[in-house]
């Protein structure tokens, strides 16, 4: 039976998120005090030593490396940004963190700000989480009143309904008052970010882990979970499981354990058909892959992705054609429209998927989908366009029968 290990979520059930004294009582803001007695460079080294805390937003980028880059860039102003624009379908982990313990994120930001030399920061919170924005503003105010955020001015900015703003440069553009369209990289935000200044953008879960790592030490953290992707990860279950709930487990836990032990297994008598881990832009896993460990690299080896940590379970009653169509509609809606491959491609993919789902698709359409998807993968400006076709390819490769059935039904051939 898998055991949760609540590190990021250590305070859940123990504190009232609206009362800063509760957080303080549980040892809150001590890590920040410890950090401020250290040299900024030493904090970054500690983070790097922790087996390289890798970003929990989906990209898995080395956090220490990011901070170090910003640390080294000379500028009169630097910024720290928390990406709370959680928009990946199936994902609600950042909401869970912020709902239960906003201060762990704020403390993490404060430590990061001190480490890189930022005096101003933003929490970019998706508009759909309006209650959380209020909670965050309240929490920031409380922390300021207690003098805990000396040297850092934090603002809460509400997004306005654009999944693409979860991409760090698009998020920066959004704060700057522009269309949320990704920027060319290089220059990287750590060199030239918000208003041209060095900026570190990290996910909610990444910041939330920082106080604990600093408090308990890098060595302790690096011994948890998988070797190359240590620590814990929060997972959120959705779809055809009994318990659509969330959990925090070490990164060497198996996918099966989470689905069965935490998720309670399948909701009905239908067996598991597919699991999509990491969000709509990730591949599907078939039941034979359930024993994969949920760390970033193992998932990648299994032909899937860890991504955001969402676990979307589908049972045998589901047609992968319908799921795929739903996913293509999502990307069509969320494409920013800047680059040609994604702007045109997401629309065409959705149109093709709609045809197949509706029974008017042809075998040639499947071929067109493959070509279009490959093109988008190679030519798009940013990861949205590059990955939009990934789930489609995965569905086509692993559930070709679902697609063929729809086409055959239309052509009237016998199976």
């Amino acid at each position: 039976m898998v055991q949760e290990m609540r590190i990021v979520l250590r305070n859940v059930g123990k504190i009232n998120p609206e009362v800063i004294d509760d957080y303080l009582r549980e040892g809150g803001y001590q890590a920040l005090t410890k950090a401020k007695a250290m040299e900024p460079a030493a904090i970054i080294t500690e983070l790097e030593r922790s087996g390289r805390l890798r970003g929990r937003g989906g990209a898995g980028f080395n956090t220490g490396f990011k901070w170090r880059s910003a640390f080294h860039t000379q500028a009169d102003q630097k910024y720290i940004i928390c990406n709370a624009d959680e928009g990946e379908p199936g994902t609600y982990k950042d909401r869970i963190i912020l709902e239960h313990d906003p201060h762990t994120v704020i403390e993490g930001m404060a430590i990061a700000a001190y480490a890189i030399g930022a005096t101003e920061g933003f929490i970019y919170c998706r508009a759909e989480y309006s209650e959380i924005s209020s909670l965050l503003e309240h929490a920031v105010k409380q922390a300021e009143e207690k003098g805990l955020l000396a040297g850092l001015k934090l603002h809460v900015v509400c997004g306005a309904g654009a999944y693409v703003c979860g991409e760090e440069t698009a998020l920066i553009e959004s704060i700057e008052g522009k269309r949320g369209e990704p920027r060319l990289k290089p220059p990287y935000p750590t060199v030239s970010g918000l208003w041209g200044k060095p900026t570190v953008v990290n996910n909610v879960e990444t910041f939330a882990a920082v106080p604990v790592i600093l408090d308990k030490g890098a060595g302790w953290f690096s011994r948890l979970g998988a070797e190359k992707y240590p620590g814990t990860k929060i997972f959120c279950l959705s779809g055809d499981v009994k318990n659509r709930t969330w959990c925090e487990v070490p990164t060497d836990t198996s996918l099966r354990a989470i689905i069965e032990d935490i998720g309670g297994g399948m909701r009905g008598s239908e067996p598991l058909k597919a699991v999509q881990v990491g969000g709509s832009s990730c591949p599907f896993l078939t039941p034979d892959k359930l024993d994969t460990s949920v760390d970033f690299d193992s998932m990648s080896v299994a032909g899937a992705a860890l991504g955001s940590g969402s676990i979307f379970v589908m049972d045998a009653s589901r047609s992968m054609v319908d799921v795929t169509y739903s996913i293509t509609r999502f990307f069509q809606h969320e494409s920013c429209g800047k680059c040609l491959p994604c702007r045109e491609g997401t629309m065409r993919l959705a149109a093709l998927a709609e045809g197949i789902a509706g029974g008017t698709g042809s075998r040639k359409d499947l071929e067109t989908i493959r070509e279009l998807g490959t093109f988008m993968n190679q030519a798009s400006f940013c990861p949205l366009g590059q990955s939009a076709a990934v789930p489609v390819f995965s569905a086509l490769a692993q559930f070709e029968e679902d697609f063929r059935q729809r086409i055959m039904e239309e052509e009237g051939e016998c199976k």
Binding site: R179, S335, G337, C339, L340, P341, R343, Q378, A379
Partner: protein
């Protein structure tokens, strides 16, 4: 210095050079659509993607810096396939009219002959095939009709006198938005919507005439396709030419000939004003008045005005009124400075009023110019009946069989008009000042090229602390040589 190879060719460039520029230096032509020099890099069309050996995937040449030892491949099978796919996707909703020959009914590149196209103008392509998209379609042998899926249907915006926008042809390269915003500081074009519904609209979503537009034409100049083009009228001139009661009098401004010759693919050393004159007569023009660049820096009439001002102790600057877009800008943003505008009209207006004065209503005055704003000026003037751009003349010559190769040059008619440099030329946008001596007084005058620079000098003039006694303003970034209605080197 950086050494790299592109398609096996070695080339050396300075640090900070893009792969695109390095390729240009090496004589390798990497195709582009959204890239335009003088504008910030967009990298949204993805046509210039190239492969770098050891890299993780194709990179845009316009946005990627050359690195020591880089091995770039610009024409691998994957890259070419990607370019073809990009072009196909553009075509899925591009007007069918752009993809088919009206005479042949359905056209594949193999069916069309360049020679035939250069003589035939039936398709009425507003760019006469001199279109960056068409060039790429030919280069990569992508035949439009195979891909048209659902044309986007829109009404054209013909609300201004000089600029037409046909949204159906827009490929969303965003060059116009950059030209109007980043370069000119006007921001009359905006990018609206998201995803597949992204569109370029005039500011506020209404008609162009309701936007901050002053018709400088830089958007027209930047458009790679026929989505933005100058107002074209090829009917009125032939009608007037055939009317025995009308005397058609034409005048080309000094910046007209070169762009026309380039469009017509005629050598500028072989063909001059007199050849153009021959062509004009061929299409029914009765008199062709020449114009030459005057030597003086400042027009005599302006000098008189200036002297009068100085003698009256007026410290406000005199502002040239020969650039219609700049005047429009002043009237809409700095109306309080209208008193500072010179009363001396531009050469086009002078020509028109001279012709009307001498021939009355019988005169049909035709001004040949690559300037968009001059069309706006003509619309507001009773003296100038029509302004035609190099493209319009090229098409009219083509339709009428006026082949300058075969026509004997004809001398221009008197009087020759002096075109003074009231409108400055410059290598780059900005303000330049110089001292001149007027009546033994040293005075400071300035010239401003580009609407941002014009805005700056007008701010200065409005502030009451302007050190310049006379300011020449030009809306276009390099002066009239960079006017709106002429072909533009993109790299």
């Amino acid at each position: 210095m950086i050494n790299l190879t592109i398609d096996g060719k070695a080339v050396t460039v300075t640090a900070g050079t893009t792969i695109l520029a390095a390729a240009q230096k090496a004589g390798i032509d990497i195709p582009t659509l959204c890239y335009l020099k003088d504008q910030s890099v967009k990298a949204n069309c993805r046509i210039c993607l190239v492969e770098v050996k050891g890299g993780s995937g194709p990179v845009p040449a316009c946005a990627s810096e050359a690195v020591q030892g880089m091995e770039v491949i610009t024409d691998s099978a994957v890259i070419i396939a990607g370019r073809r796919r990009s072009l196909q996707l553009i075509l899925t909703h591009h007007p069918i009219a752009c993809q088919s020959c009206v005479r042949l009914g359905n056209s594949r590149h193999g069916d069309l002959s360049e020679e035939m196209c250069s003589m035939c103008f039936y398709c009425d392509c507003v760019r006469d095939g001199d279109c960056e998209l068409q060039k790429l379609l030919k280069r990569y042998d992508v035949n439009g009709m195979d891909y048209v899926w659902a044309e986007k249907e829109y009404d054209s915006d013909t609300s201004t006198s000089s600029i037409v926008r046909d949204p159906g042809k827009c490929i969303l390269c965003r060059r116009c938005v950059s030209a109007c915003g980043e370069v000119q500081g006007i921001y009359a074009w905006s990018i609206t919507g998201r995803g597949f519904h992204t569109a370029i609209e005039s500011a506020g979503g209404g008609l162009l005439a309701e936007s901050p537009c002053v018709e400088c034409g830089q958007c027209v100049r930047s458009c790679p396709v026929g989505a933005l083009y100058e107002t074209q009228n090829l009917d009125d001139l032939p009608d007037a030419a055939q009317d025995p009661a009308k005397t058609v009098i034409a005048r080309a401004d000094p910046y007209f000939l070169k762009p026309y010759l380039r469009l017509a693919e005629l050598d500028e050393h072989t063909f001059g004003d007199e050849s153009l004159s021959a062509g004009l007569r061929r299409i029914g023009v009765d008199l062709v008045i020449g114009s030459v660049q005057a030597d003086q820096a400042v027009n005599t009439d302006i000098t008189a005005e200036l002297k009068k001002r100085l003698s009256e102790g007026d410290t406000r600057p005199l502002l040239s009124a020969t650039c219609p877009a700049s005047v429009q800008y002043l009237l809409t943003r700095f109306p309080q400075l209208s008193e500072c505008l010179s009363a001396v009209p531009g050469a086009q207006e002078q020509f028109g009023s001279w012709a009307k004065a001498n021939w009355g209503d019988a005169a049909y005055t035709l001004s040949l110019s690559a300037c968009s704003a001059k069309k706006m000026a003509a619309a507001e003037s009773v003296n100038v009946d029509q302004v035609m751009s190099p493209r319009e003349i090229n098409r009219l010559f083509g339709r009428s069989g006026a082949d300058l190769n075969r026509l004997k040059p004809v001398a221009l008619d008197e009087p020759q008009q002096q075109e003074c440099r009231d409108i400055p030329d410059s290598d780059c946008a900005g303000i330049q000042e110089r001292e001149v001596i007027l009546d033994n007084q040293r005075i400071l005058i300035a010239s401003a090229c580009g609407l941002r620079a014009v805005a700056n000098v007008l701010e200065l003039a409005a502030s009451g602390n302007c050190p310049y006694r006379y300011i020449q303003v030009a809306a276009c970034p390099q002066g009239c040589q960079s006017a709106g209605d002429l072909p533009y080197e993109t790299l």
